[in-house]
């Protein structure tokens, strides 16, 4: 039921259908082992998060092998303007505070912009795909994402999280 969506998330991160298929299988095995006792309220989001975690694990493993690719690398490059280096790594508590602030920021955005941001930086969807899904031109998608990133950076600085 959610196979295509999970496959697309994994493929966007890894850039490979085979790797995406393997990630999906790993995620399904995790779900099989976790349910029960886990009772996710939103099974789709639960499954997608498992697939995404599996894809990121595989991505990091491949990166270590210097075999990176796909949309994730581009998305990471775009986010480096907000998070330039790994020297600012804070403790996990600060990271949770940061993500709470990010969540609040996303909730303050218009629905279309929020969905666009999440699809780009959570789902790692390609610009062309976003342009088609959101009825926008590719340049318009890029400009909109740049403005959201700039507002997020300003917001996090005002909150003292950057």
């Amino acid at each position: 039921m959610y196979g295509a969506l999970c496959r697309s998330v994994a493929r966007n991160i890894l850039g490979s259908d085979e790797d995406a298929e393997e990630c999906l299988n790993d995620a399904l095995l995790t779900v099989w082992n976790a349910i029960p006792p886990a009772k996710p309220s939103n099974f789709c989001a639960y499954l997608l998060k498992l697939v995404r975690n599996a894809a990121f694990d595989r991505y990091k493993a491949r990166r270590r092998e210097k075999r990176g690719g796909g949309q994730t690398a581009q998305a990471l490059d775009e986010l480096t303007e907000i998070f330039p280096s790994s020297e600012n790594v804070e403790q996990e508590l600060e990271q949770r505070e940061l993500m709470q602030a990010v969540t609040g920021f996303l909730q303050s955005l218009p629905e279309k912009q929020r969905n666009l941001f999440i699809c780009r930086y959570w789902q790692s969807a390609a610009i062309a795909e976003l342009a088609a899904r959101f009825d926008m031109s590719e340049s318009n998608v890029k400009v909109t994402l740049a403005r959201i990133r700039k507002r997020l950076q300003k917001y996090l600085r005002e909150e003292g999280l950057l």
Binding site: N42, A75, F83, N88, C119, R133
Partner: protein, 314 residues
């Protein structure tokens, strides 16, 4: 924190937010939907273009009544002292949306021309509010003969014997009229404009059967309540001036006589309303008119009467 770590942490976003985002679709409208406003606009313009001419045709005015056909025949007679020119104008048909049935008007006209060259330019409008005899007069038996054919009138070189009662244009009247009927002269529209590009002096008569309820033809106040039916005649003459001298009416027809003043340097449009007594159910096609052209303004003034009267025969 680096960007990669941030992307990993984004997995902590609320489930509903992620679920909504990954299922979000903002599809374009179908192409047909995009063209719907243009299609609707075209339809509105088309309908308006089709209806607008019909709307314009409503509420006609008598000044816009079209003349369908006009034929003219001119004959000239030369004598030692005078020159007579007879012009016959026939078959003027018209159709108005104001009336339920089309009315065909035929008319005859005879023009007599003298050789005098006196020209008078001054034209004054006539304005009269007249009353019609209150008691309708029933037509009597043994109707006198009525001349309906086109007549040729000899030219005039001397003063016309018009004083008071209008001149009879049918030759010798067989008997005295049963009664006379005043004509309502229309001052509401008398137009003088440049003459039309017509090879000969041009004159037209339009006859319309009208009632006091027919707004637009005449002022209501000018109608006599005793008469519910009128014949409204519109005269369009390419002359300096024109006027109704009189006429005759029988139960079967109405004939009017007009006088025009040379030269034909302008166009005069006049309106007259002739009340129809009971028993005189005259239709526009039963009406005819003839006219005399005067070269001298004095002759015109003598023929022109302040109160045109219609001789009514039983």
């Amino acid at each position: 924190m680096n960007a990669e770590r941030f992307m990993e942490l984004m997995n902590t976003l609320p489930d509903d937010m992620i679920d909504t985002a990954v299922h979000a679709e903002y599809r374009r409208r179908p192409k047909l939907m995009r063209f719907l406003p243009a299609i609707a606009a075209c339809l509105v313009i088309g309908i308006f273009a089709a209806v607008y001419p019909k709307l314009r045709m409503q509420a006609p005015e008598i000044t816009e009544l079209p003349a369908a056909t006009v034929t003219a025949e001119t004959t000239a007679q030369n004598t030692a002292e005078t020159t007579a020119v007879t012009v016959y104008t026939t078959a003027v048909s018209m159709k108005t949306t104001h009336q339920t049935t089309a009315e065909t008007v035929s008319q005859t006209a005879a023009e007599t021309v003298t050789d005098a060259e006196t020209v008078t330019d001054a034209v004054t409008e006539q304005e009269q509010v007249l009353t019609v005899p209150e008691t309708p007069i029933q037509p009597e038996t043994a109707p006198p003969p009525v001349t309906t054919a086109i007549l040729t009138v000899t030219a005039e070189t001397t003063e016309a014997p018009i004083q008071g009662a209008p001149e009879s244009f049918h030759g010798d009247a067989p008997e005295e009229p049963t009664f006379t009927l005043p004509v309502i002269t229309g001052p509401w529209q008398k137009e003088n404009s440049a003459p039309s590009d017509w090879p000969e002096p041009y004159i037209q008569f339009y006859f319309v059967r009208s009632t006091p309820d027919d707004h637009g033809y005449m002022l209501d106040s000018r109608y006599d309540p005793a008469h519910q039916q009128y014949i409204v005649v519109k005269v369009r003459a390419d002359y300096t001036d024109a006027a109704l001298c009189g006429g005759t009416m029988t139960p079967s027809g109405l004939q009017l006589h007009f006088v025009c003043l040379r030269p034909p340097d302008s166009t005069v449009i006049l309106y007259y309303a002739i009340p129809l007594p009971d028993g005189y159910d005259i239709l526009p096609e039963d009406c005819s008119a003839e006219y005399t052209v005067a070269n001298d303004s004095d002759i015109f003034q003598k023929k022109q009467t302040d109160q045109p009267m219609i001789d009514v025969y039983a």
